[in-house]
């Protein structure tokens, strides 16, 4: 039995809808995505937004490649950034070489270089690490990541030491008058590759191999008794995942015009795991949601608070504990209710639950930020501003407020949760009566 925490409702089912006349139905979501990607820069015009959206696009490719292993095949890797980072290094070196030798390779094709670099290293490291499965695989992925990370300090010629290796993306062969110097043009390069990669990775789930990935995730023993070697399935998944991680890394290298050791560090591997899991590993769109959210928060939270990574970690633990299907899983839980038209029955109790949730959030933020003010920012003194309110963190008052908020949230949750449970059960059985829950 596999034990990847997917909620039952969030697993995609095959629909047997055939192709209708005109556009095949499966093309529609992709066309819609393409339109959205094209339109976004005209809605969010500032450079900040373009930068953030570019980061999101890179993160989406990376998270989707990660989920090929975690969500689709049931392999938990702690070292996926290796292929991302190597993708970035190889593309930067290739670009520098192309600039120096005037090799006629246009920039839009460069991400392929990263992809093949990621693939090549995944073929080597995957051969070693997919010999084992489960927890041992995870530990090996961590060990190999450390191996590559430490090697970067030795092979300084290739990895460029602490500074890394820089490049200039505007100096390559141009096919049009786009130089990709501006973030606007860079965004479109990333968006294009993001869409192509997403389609390719989605298509992969619809192949015989993609189905066997799920089978190996679910029950590797049984997969053997229908003729498949689970080790080979895992190995292929690892390699393909490495390819797309390499593409993502190459996009990052081109975007920053820099490859350095941070790109394959442990925190990069951790971030992609966090993003993918928070978004939800049980569906194809989950990692996309997670990548968008985490990239946004990384930029926005790091402006607001010094300890944004702590909030990330807490959010991740909360998802692991209370919503193992991630955000996408939470949304999908409600789809049958929506279809049956009984979603309204759970809304009141959800609204009610907003009160203790807000209290809990404010309480936790106060606890963390007041501690930070007193411990980390001693030099700034005890007076701080939170949610627009200025107060002195050295006085007992704010601490009392914080404790009351937390205690109040706890009591209210206790009071409300039976009500939520009943509302949920009612709505669900109503949906079941209408044949919307299988």
């Amino acid at each position: 039995m596999s034990d990847i925490p997917l909620p039952k409702s969030s697993v995609t089912r095959v629909s047997q809808r055939g192709a209708e006349k005109g556009l095949p139905w499966w093309l529609l979501p992709w066309l819609a995505s393409a339109v959205v990607l094209l339109a976004l820069p005209f809605i969010f015009r500032s450079d900040t937004y373009l930068t953030v959206m570019s980061l999101m696009g890179i993160a989406i490719v990376f998270a989707l490649s990660y989920n090929m292993m975690l969500g689709q095949t049931g392999m938990l890797s702690f070292g996926h950034a290796v292929y991302y980072g190597l993708g970035a290094y190889f593309v930067v070196h290739t670009m520098n070489w192309a600039i120096a030798t005037r090799a006629p390779i246009p920039l839009p094709l460069m991400p392929l270089v990263g992809g093949f670099a990621g693939l090549a290293f995944a073929i080597i490291f995957g051969w070693l690490s997919t010999k084992r499965s489960g927890t041992t695989f995870s530990m090996i992925s961590l060990g190999l990541a450390e191996l590559v990370g430490s090697s970067s300090l030795i092979l300084r010629t290739f990895f460029g030491g602490e500074e890394g290796v820089t490049t200039n993306r505007t100096k390559l062969l141009r096919l049009t008058d786009w130089t990709f110097g501006s973030q606007f043009q860079m965004y479109y390069l990333i968006a294009g590759w993001c869409l192509i990669s997403a389609i390719a990775m989605y298509a992969l789930t619809r192949t015989p191999f993609g189905r066997m990935c799920n089978a190996v995730r679910e029950n590797p023993e049984r997969a053997q008794f229908v003729g498949y070697n689970p080790q080979v399935v895992r190995y292929i998944a690892f390699c393909l995942s490495g390819f797309f991680a390499g593409v993502a890394g190459a996009l990052a290298g081109i975007n920053f015009e820099l490859a350095n050791a941070n790109l394959f560090g442990a925190s990069q591997s951790g971030t992609v795991l966090l993003a993918t899991f928070i978004g939800g590993i049980g569906t194809f769109v989950g990692p996309v949601l997670g990548a968008v959210l985490v990239s946004y928060l990384q930029v926005m939270l790091s402006d607001i608070t010094e300890v944004w990574q702590l909030y990330f970690g807490l959010m991740f633990i909360a998802v692991v504990m209370f919503a193992p299907g991630g955000l996408a899983g939470l949304v999908l839980m409600h789809v049958p209710l929506l279809r049956a038209g009984v979603l309204g029955r759970v809304v009141p109790s959800y609204l009610l639950a907003l009160i203790p949730t807000a209290m809990l959030l404010v309480g936790v933020v106060m606890l963390i930020e007041m501690t930070v003010q007193l411990a980390v920012k001693q030099s700034e003194g005890p007076v701080m501003k939170l949610f627009g309110v200025a107060f002195n963190a050295n006085l007992p008052g704010p601490w009392l407020v914080m404790l009351m908020l937390l205690a109040g949230a706890f009591v209210l949750f206790r009071l409300i949760s039976p009500r939520m449970g009943t509302a949920w059960d009612n709505a669900r059985s109503a949906a079941a009566e209408r044949g919307m829950v299988v």
Binding site: K131, R132, G134, M139, G143, A266, L310, I317
Partner: protein, 316 residues
Amino acid sequence: MLELVLISTLNGVLYGLLLFLMASGLTLIFSMMGVLNFAHASFYMLGAFVGYQISKWAGFWPGLILAPLIVGAAGMLVERFGLRNVHKNGHVAELLFTFGLAFVMEELVQIVWGKAPVDYRVPALLDFPAFTLFTTNYPAYKLFMLAISLAIFVGLFAMLTRTRIGLIVQAALTHPNMVAHLGHNVPLIFMSVFGVGAGLAAIAGVIAGPALVTQSTMAALLGPILFVVVVVGGLGSLSGALVASLLIGLLQTFAISSNASMADLFAFSGFSPQPNTIMNDLWRVSVAQIAPILPYLLLVLMLMFRPTGLMGNRES
């Protein structure tokens, strides 16, 4: 040369025993509960910091006793209110939970104690050279570390072979399904095992803290090596963990003390690669510089020739 060998052996065994202090807790938790505790090195770090804090208030010795107890209790709370709730979602969820925990613990330690190393001092009582070997003064504190590690090692061994609890644990090591037959005490046993494991890691932290650097990065630095130890030893095997700990301890210690490089070794050949090439990087790198990657190279070799680890027989 003999001096170097003797000192390095002592240091290597010491480092190996420290690794085993942690690896044993990790192995116990894994064998009993099926969870590989990603946050194990974080408890080591927490042990060092709590020990440091207590040493500031009350001196080193109360810290040596209290810090492992406090961290052990914290471990039990983590099991009771965190891990246990995740258990129903399977081992991957549990591993992810401990991963998140390691992430959060590092951040918390940074908030409370900052990012810079703290000044965790060797107690005055032990701050003298124990003996002089040729020209090297061997610090008494290191001997003390050695003694503590050995004492715990012997204690653990005695507990495993002489007590009822030890027999249950041993049975669980070889027959993981055994644990299911322990009856209604399972939650309590899980909580205790997790607490003891965390406490053992904390002891390692308290005694290593003054000798090494007590800093918020110490968990991230040691954690991966620890996981190499348990994979190389064979997941779930205590004796394998011991052998692997000592092996890696000696390997790294000897490597650090050697400045030889390929360039030195083959100096007679007159060969010299082009500067600024990868070949040149490899040619000039000293053994000491590759010391940090040796455990991972060992892991790779082990996977190529004996994928189940030195003494392992369990698949996942």
